[in-house]
Subunit: 641 residues, 2 copies
């Protein structure tokens, strides 16, 4: 009998001592970080609302109770019972019964009404029906990503249970080492932006944090081949933790599966879906540009299959000596500051991922409130001494001015934007401005992946700023459903119509004018001197966006939606730049994030910024707060403890 | 055909173009770092003294020419021919013919006479006899270590050739990576003395430098299990480089073979022999103390079998992108400052190993003259702000005083000493003092491994200080052969006789009174108030030597050479401490080593010293010479380039 089996036997007897004699436990097993208890009497369990909580705190484990398959009523019967218990207004759109685990997945427009006050309706379902309910939201805007992911996971359910059980046993394996140390190795995004990747290493455990690409430098991938990472064999990595879906953090995660990795990816649920969307697009773009992508869509599916989603605030065992907790990072949907608690009080490390410190329209500001953090790994995108951003209020005022000026000229406003995050922020600005009459009502056309990304946002309103979440919960106030927003899904024909039609605003990818439908919009509208090309996001060195900002007006238009090879277009549009819509904290925000931590970390590693940004931020934090600060290079290892 | 085979074909054609048409090449292969050329016409090759040198410089390889086995005269015939060519005064003591390689190993009392002026006699042998001569010295003092090692290597000759060929092909393999970086990972001896071990890592190559134990803390071994070291598989280490034989640098090298390492160990020839001696003793001591040693003597033999000895100053390829050069370190016999040249001018790192900067009687001072060194990894044993040692002249005067005072009282002088290095230094002091009449002539008894270690010193006089080397070359002046020196090889009986006999000096291991025959000498002489126990070396915290220095006079005497369990002895001897015979540079020496480097390194890693020593030295070098200095912890990785 393995050590994990012995452990499970022990736990089972502890549970049996705690519960009433007439409740029968049929199995106790690990599935991922959770302890799953199978019982012939799920209704009795559900009857005592506090029993599971008591067990969880006694065993210091996350516990799920499921009915033993032998006790289940037939799905046909159970279906009706569920529909009877749940109020009709919940808007159940799908019911999916899994006899193997006794779970019923309830997709509903209003998940809160399926859950009930403090879980009362859920408990009622268990008591009445016997099946264990799991609730997901019906996307208020149809999202092919969300439905593809959900269908895929449904289809791969059996393999996924095997994975979870294997991972669960790994997490709860016996600790072997009596040494104590903590190390971080930098595999990327040091003194640069891009290819985020770190190894957190203890004598027991190796965790990869992020695994991104470097936009504009496809050859420069994280140093995965060194022995600290995959060089010692991909199976030596215990877990992957993903802070958010941006490709500079997620693009190369599927590659791990090509190299033989077979373990879990911990991230939030929205990050999982956005990651799938962005990775598949990454493959698409590579194909269109004639590059051979480093992996196939099959590996994207592997990544999704191996993802174990965690919610903000859940303290989760991911190894015998490591617990993680995700906290809102304020950067994009699902983005997480990740707190690692190592050993039993031995050491604490927080990885900021990318953060926005202040509240935005979309998100609450990044959380920096941890019981203990000895070392902070901090992004430094805007860590430079002059990287203070315009106030968002001023930015919004300026954007509205640009729109109004263009409108008065009779032109259209074209905004290149990233699909995830900034587009939704702008949608909120535009929706409010029209509602308040600050700008005229007119259509806002969303092209590229923006619509799909917006749909994903509305599927996970819990991850949005609290007042926005409340508005989304009331369908009639959901700003993303406003009439002005139009999804460009009719291709070139629709674009031509829009270009020939009434005044409007166009939000289109790519955000740095590096391909994508924005190229087509430039062809259609670029020659109109009354229209305005409005930049709202950072334009990196070497991108066409940056060159246009710098005054270029001869634009290559081949390679997207027709147009002969080598064609160019003379840009006659006005161009404007409106700063202040960044998803990143500015220099002040980064300092505030650190300054208001209590207690403050002893050490800060400044990463994810160009050389001068990390150096500036590192020396400022050192001088102002007297912490030990570092601006590491890639491929260095820091020892803590 | 593998890439190495293609390369060898190329080289063969280049050679054939360069040499006269009538010389036949039968094979060209790598054996370790050397290119070996087999020919039917070894005599023709030998005839042109400059041909090999021209080829070597053209091919940028070390070249050895050997006769094709088919051309060899029978050994019986060849033996007489060799004896005819070599002058009788060379004192040939053994001739060993190896038909597989066409080599004849000539062991002679005066190797220089076998070699001849600029190699003329060697060339004559090849021309007359056809066999390729290799010359070794007949130990002037019989050394069982040296003869065991030589016999063992003779016996394992075939496997050794396989190893060399495999290593040779590894060294000359194709470079695969187009990345360029250099990293050092610390596996031990950081902020501590003991368990020296470093990994030098490039995209191409991983090299382990030293692999020692931590005296007095047997559990604290180098962090070999991390993925940068053996965690990724022992076969991922390309080479081991050993700076010197002390156990804190060499003790765990045999363990590597237990873990599956099968590659080369580069070190000097005397270090190889001393390493064997000390490792076998290490196993002995562990057995006597009832500990299970981490490996067996079989692994010590593996280590010796895999050793590729290099001489000071030889620039040697040990990987496609790494050349090393050993330089005298002045610390113990064969100790080497090791210079690594990485890439084609990419980067240079020097590992000091342990060094003594000034000349001593035994050794020239450490070499610090390199064409380029960007990073220096520097020992810091005496790096503390107050670690200035007594001048050796003063120390010698004080030692002679102690001896004279004891002699006048009618007592004996007992000196605990390390077998390797300090004992030989003391022998030289005592021999000269007696010769000059500074102290009375009296027997000097050498107990423990001191005699054997001395024998190894006399086998390799090339590694000793130049004037000492010259004296050893003339048998009548060899100071180690002086009549006063007596090897205690009669056990307890002889010790009893010496104790009961005339006045004398005893040098005995262990150096810190931690077991070994010194315990027996304390039993025999410890109660005599006229005798003096004289400490000449550093006594570490927690050792009996240190406690005696601090005034303890109740000595446990069980566990060595009889004496009941729990017996104690009251020490009535005088105790004296004479500083200044250290094998390590003092603080001034360390600073001088760095200061006089030209050019000075950009970065210095201060290691191999306790916490305050490395910190003191690191900040002193930073302030005085404005270099970037570090006092790393174990398990950190530094990136250069
Ligand atoms: Zn199903
Ligand atoms: Zn990001
Ligand atoms: Zn990022
Ligand atoms: Zn040493
Ligand atoms: Zn040492």
């Amino acid at each position: 009998m393995s050590q994990v089996d012995t452990q499970l036997e022990d736990i089972r007897s502890q549970i049996e001592q705690e519960i009433p004699n007439d409740i029968t436990i049929t199995d106790v097993k690990y599935e991922g970080p959770e302890l799953v208890v199978y019982t012939r009497d799920p209704k009795r369990f559900a009857g005592d609302g506090d029993l599971i909580r008591r067990l969880a705190s006694q065993l210091r484990k996350r516990i799920t109770v499921r009915p033993d398959p032998s006790t289940l009523s037939p799905p046909s019967e159970a279906r009706q019972q569920v529909l009877d218990v749940v109020p009709e207004e919940a808007g159940i759109s799908d019911l999916d019964f899994h006899a193997d685990t006794g779970e019923v997945v309830i997709e509903a427009q209003k998940p809160g009404m399926v859950i009930g006050r403090r879980g009362s309706t859920l408990r009622e379902i268990t008591q009445e029906v016997g099946w264990t309910p799991e609730v997901v939201r019906t996307p208020p805007i149809e999202s092919s990503t969300v439905s593809n992911v959900r269908n895929f996971l449904k289809q791969e359910r059996e393999e996924r249970r095997d994975i979870l059980e294997r991972v669960g046993r790994q997490i709860h394996r016996e600790e072997l080492s009596d040494e104590e140390w903590v190390r971080i190795t930098t595999l990327g995004c040091c003194r640069e932006v891009g290819r985020a990747a770190f190894i957190l290493n203890t004598p027991e455990t190796r965790i990869l944090i992020d695994c991104g690409d470097k936009p504009g430098a496809e050859g420069e991938v994280p140093y995965l081949q060194v022995p600290e990472a995959l060089g010692a064999g991909a199976q030596n990595i215990d877990a992957v933790v993903l802070t958010h879906a941006h490709l500079d953090h997620s693009a190369l995660i599927p590659l791990l599966f090509k190299y033989g990795y077979d373990g879990p990816i911990y991230t939030t649920e929205p990050t999982r879906d956005l990651m799938g969307l962005l990775q598949l697009d990454y493959l698409d773009v590579a194909a269109k540009e004639g590059r051979t992508p480093p992996y196939e869509s099959a590996q994207v599916r592997e990544a999704i299959k191996h993802t174990i989603p965690l919610e903000y605030g859940d303290v989760t065992d991911i190894a015998p000596d490591v617990k993680i907790t995700f906290h809102n990072a304020g950067h994009i949907l699902g983005s997480a500051v990740t707190h690692f608690h190592i050993g039993d009080g031995l050491y604490n490390v927080a990885f900021s991922g990318d953060i926005h410190y202040d509240d935005t329209r979309l998100f609450n500001g990044a959380v920096n409130d941890f019981p203990r953090v000895e070392t902070l790994v901090l992004e430094s995108t805007y860590g430079g001494r002059n990287d203070y951003q315009t106030d968002q209020e001023d930015s919004e005022r300026r954007l509205k001015e640009v729109i109004n000026e263009t409108y008065e000229r009779g032109g259209k406003v074209v905004i290149p934007a990233f699909a995830v995050g900034r587009s939704q922020e702008l949608m909120l600005v535009l929706e409010e401005a029209m509602r308040n009459g600050d700008i005229p009502e007119m259509p806002v056309h969303l092209d590229g992946m923006i619509w799909e990304a917006t749909a994903i946002h509305t599927t996970y309103p819990e991850y949005l700023r609290d007042d926005l979440r409340d508005r989304i919960f009331h369908e009639d106030e959901n700003p993303f459903l406003a009439d002005q927003f139009n999804h460009i899904d009719g291709g070139e024909e629709e674009r031509q119509e829009v270009a020939d039609g009434e005044q409007c605003i166009v939000l289109s990818t790519s955000g740095m004018v590096e391909g994508g439908p924005i190229m087509s919009w430039l062809r259609h509208i670029g020659t109109d001197p009354d229209s305005t090309l409005t930049f709202v996001g950072y334009q990196a060195q070497g991108t066409l966006g940056r060159r246009i900002q710098n005054g270029w007006d001869e634009i290559p238009v081949d390679g997207w939606g027709g147009g002969g090879r080598g064609d160019t277009l003379t840009l006659n549009m006005e161009t404007e730049t409106v700063d202040g819509f960044s998803g990143h904290a500015d220099r002040q925000g980064l300092e505030n994030f650190v300054k208001t931590m209590n207690p403050r970390p002893e050490k800060v590693l400044c990463v994810h910024g160009d050389e001068s940004s990390v150096q500036d931020l590192s020396s400022a934090l050192y001088h102002d707060y007297n912490m030990r600060t570092f601006a590491p290079k890639n491929l260095e290892t820091f020892r803590f403890k």
